[in-house]
Subunit: 165 residues, 2 copies
Amino acid sequence: MSESGPLPTTLPPVVDEIAHLAFLLGTWRGGGTGDFPTIDPFSYGEEIVFEHVGDAFLLLSQRSWLAADDAPLHFERGFLRPGADGAVELTLAHPLGLVEVSEGTVSGTELDLASTWIGRTSTGDDVTQLMRRLRVDGDVLSYELDMTTERTPRTRHLQAELRRT
Amino acid sequence: MSESGPLPTTLPPVVDEIAHLAFLLGTWRGGGTGDFPTIDPFSYGEEIVFEHVGDAFLLLSQRSWLAADDAPLHFERGFLRPGADGAVELTLAHPLGLVEVSEGTVSGTELDLASTWIGRTSTGDDVTQLMRRLRVDGDVLSYELDMTTERTPRTRHLQAELRRT
């Protein structure tokens, strides 16, 4: 059996199924601001990477750090793929004891996603809904994220702007 | 705000909360065999990476490829963290339109995890349970994974052996 692995030295072509999501591909770096009724407002730096492997999905890795002291803040890892009838499906794991399924639409270079399932571990966070809006304009990616928890109604939690590196 | 990012040039220390999981840290490469009543048996190459960022969780990235032609096979991305009372919690995203929460125990250098929650997208796979056993013996990591779907009762799906690189 092969144990050398398929890490390509040149990227495989983007398959047709995700051509309409190819505007996301790349490494994006920037920063944003966060707020929520239960915490103090904060500023953060962030890197988001969208990759593909020649298959009908994108791999998504996000990491952020507190602007104040560069301490690790949040991490998200998952996959974005086309669903039925032009829909987009996101499967995402969080280190807070959360997993997320979100679905929505892509319109041009704008993604609009709402969580349809949030699962948690026994000690996981009490998030109950996540709403994401993300757009790319040239080399700028910006997004807003609204969050609902068991104790707090839907509130704008994050907004950020990143540039393609 | 800082946009330079915290990518450490030296790894931060492993925090006490995950010291008992530190045996997993590193990059593991090897291969295994897969089978299931609904598919033909197959052999695969695999890389599993467990990282940490100085916080109380591990980051997990898995990728595998068909031994026959090095075609990308499967990817998993997620987080492993300590739960309550010595438990271990796994949050994982799959590109098949699946997210997984698994919980279990660590005993020495053996992990035993059973899914407690599997969520799926509208077009996601019909997996209903995943049972994982993973152990490290020196520089060898081996695991078995049993899978249950809506159409197929619990069956050994994967077994593999990897070496620390």
